[in-house]
């Protein structure tokens, strides 16, 4: 019996420089435990989709290593790929194919025999409430339905790791709720889930662990609980008139010594500063100056909130419009 917790995903020093020398990822280290519900959070352009593209072998990496359940994607690409189910950010369905066939085919690409593939297509179409639309073609589905169909498609080979790239971007709140419920159920069943999103609340309500990337850099990788508490606290740097040897104990506050004349105090937003000053006076400390330490995480979140309404899927929809508008599938 194994008691070691397996790593569902390990990224080591992952770099991606696109043509035109756009640096999308500048050396990311990350690991996701088996069974985890993991959030990859970051503003638009942070590099989330690029990272997922590399993991699923749709994007060639510049350097670094990726392992999926211990399978290095360069050395054992098939074994690694067989473990992953992917729900991409942009709709990538064959719009002219019947929904049922999309699932049966996808199972076939993973070697699931046809009879079994049909059973699974039924099971997962029902799971995403699209069984009634099984004989319809993907083109006739609404945006939210297309997304659910892509989730079913990613599940049909029953992967161990499900990756969803902004599955809830641009879908209305009701559908988003039902997708959350679905993802929770899948994760409760034991499947590891990595979810990228730029909604903090979404990550907070679903995920246990989180990595935050910005401009291709990992800026935070911790449990959800501790990241949320970091966000709710403000850190002040206090300069003392007299040097001290160790951090003073201030009741109700976390204090760290920066150097012998500076301390850092974490203050929860609802705590206020009066209590802090009382504590400081009690300890007979004299403060010559005080400043708020810049909080990269917080700055990032302000940007995230501002970015919230961006249109995630617009570009692809536009590209495909050509074909959708004409009924002609044969191109020449």
């Amino acid at each position: 019996m194994r008691y070691v917790v397996l790593k569902a995903l390990t990224l080591k020093n992952l770099r991606k420089v696109y043509r035109d020398s756009i640096v999308a990822l500048s050396g990311i280290d990350l690991s996701v435990k088996e069974g985890d519900f993991f959030a990859l959070l970051g503003p638009n352009g942070a590099g989330k989709t690029t990272a997922i593209g590399i993991i699923t072998s749709l994007v060639n990496k510049t350097s670094g290593t990726v392992s999926v359940f211990g399978h290095n994607i360069d050395k054992e690409p098939e074994a690694a790929k067989a473990c992953i189910g992917i729900v991409p950010q942009e709709v990538n369905l064959n719009l002219f194919e019947r929904n049922k066939d999309i699932l049966i085919n996808q199972a076939g690409y993973y070697g699931v025999p046809r009879e079994e593939a049909k059973r699974r297509a039924e099971k997962y179409l029902k799971a995403v409430h699209l069984w009634e639309r099984r004989n319809d073609i993907a083109r006739n589905l609404s945006g939210g339905m297309k997304r659910r169909l892509m989730i079913a498609r990613a599940l049909v080979h029953e992967p161990r790791l499900l990756i969803l790239d902004e599955p809830t971007a641009g879908v209305d709140i009701e559908i988003r709720r039902s997708m959350w419920e679905l993802m929770r159920k899948i994760n409760d069943g034991g499947m590891t889930i990595i979810l990228t999103t730029h909604y903090l609340e979404e990550a907070e309500s679903l995920c246990r662990n989180i990595a935050i990337i910005d401009e291709g850099r990992l800026i935070e990788n911790d449990t959800m609980v501790s990241v949320v508490s970091k966000l709710q606290n403000e850190v002040f740097v206090l300069t003392l008139t007299e040097p001290i040897k160790e951090a003073p104990i201030l009741e109700g506050y976390t204090v760290r010594l920066r150097n012998n004349q500076e301390i850092e105090v974490e203050v929860a937003k609802e705590q206020g500063l009066n209590g802090l000053f009382e504590e400081i006076s009690k300890k007979s400390l004299y403060i010559s100056s005080m400043r708020s330490r810049s909080n990269r995480l917080e700055e990032l979140f302000i940007r995230l909130v501002e970015n919230k309404n961006f249109e995630a899927t617009a570009s692809n929809e536009l590209k495909v419009k050509n074909i959708i508008n004409s009924d002609k599938e044969e191109l020449n």
């Binding site: 072998s57 074994a79 991409p88 990538n92 070697g111 498609r153 080979h157 161990r160 044969e330 191109l331």
Partner: protein, 277 residues
């Protein structure tokens, strides 16, 4: 709903001790792609099968019956009989090419090609799947054109094995050529340039409508640089028993193209050219 614990599924998903069974994955995958491609041809038969049948019927009416009767004989047979193998091959070439270029390029454009790229399927399997679609459409149209031809002229097949092998090999070659075109294509223009500026001239000058013995010695040499000439003539030999070129040269050229194109497309897909960023 219930999503079962995924690893209790009885199907292996990359976790058996010696890794996934790649042979059976690729076999099931190949059958899946072939079925999907054939279904596509049949589903849109109005776009895939009917237009070439109509075009070829017109060719037979105009060149075969109307003009052909004035031309008399070519290559020792009535003109209508002479052009029948050429027109069949022309349909095979354009339809095999067109099927793969359209299907693969629309997969790139709608991005559903990614469905296969993220799966454990080998690139060879993907290529073979698209070839199968191209060959099926090429042969389906060829059969239809043969049927049309039989209304205009009497067709006997002199060497069935040669006829069948040439037509299949040619369909494979042009399926691969269509795939190559689609790999490099980034726009609709890119997939119409090759058929219009390369394929059509080579086909029309490839001995479909005339025997190269009509050409001056210089132009005969030029014509011999056109691979389609060898395919058309090998096929004509299979059907009528006469040809402008030697059969072994034709087969050598066809096989050389086939393996060359297969190797090239495989190399490109492995490198991710045209399909990965």
């Amino acid at each position: 709903m219930s999503v079962d614990r995924p690893y209790e599924s009885n199907f292996t998903n990359g976790e058996s001790s010696d890794g996934p069974d790649l042979f059976s994955i690729n076999l099931v995958g190949l059958l899946t792609i072939v079925r999907r491609e054939v279904r596509r041809v049949l589903r849109i038969w109005v776009q895939t099968i009917v237009p070439p049948a109509i075009t070829m019927t017109l060719y037979f009416i105009i060149f075969g019956s109307l003009i052909g009767s004035r031309i008399g004989e070519m290559g020792g047979v009535p003109y209508t009989t002479f052009i029948a193998p050429g027109l069949i091959m022309m349909s095979v070439i354009t339809n095999s090419f067109g099927n793969v270029v359209s299907s693969f390029f629309s997969g790139k454009l709608q991005q559903h090609l990614e469905e296969m790229l993220v799966s454990p399927l080998a690139h060879t399997t993907i290529i073979l799947g698209y070839i199968a679609g191209g060959v099926v459409r090429g042969l389906a149209v060829a059969l239809l054109v043969t049927l049309v031809a039989s209304f205009f002229t009497e067709l006997n097949i002199a060497h069935p094995m040669i006829t069948i092998s040439v037509v299949i090999l040619t369909a494979i070659v042009f399926s691969l050529a269509g795939l190559l075109n689609a790999i490099f294509a980034n726009s609709f223009d890119d997939i119409s340039i090759i058929p219009t500026f390369v394929l059509a001239p080579l086909t029309y000058l490839g001995g479909v409508f005339f025997s190269i013995s009509l050409l001056s010695p210089f132009w005969q040499k030029v014509a011999l640089a056109n691979p389609i000439l060898y395919m058309v003539n090998a096929f004509r030999y299979g059907m009528l028993g006469s040809s402008d070129i030697t059969l072994s040269t034709a087969f050598t050229i066809i096989l050389f193209l086939l393996f060359g194109l297969f190797g090239l497309t495989l190399f490109l897909l492995r490198r991710g050219i045209g399909i990965r960023s």
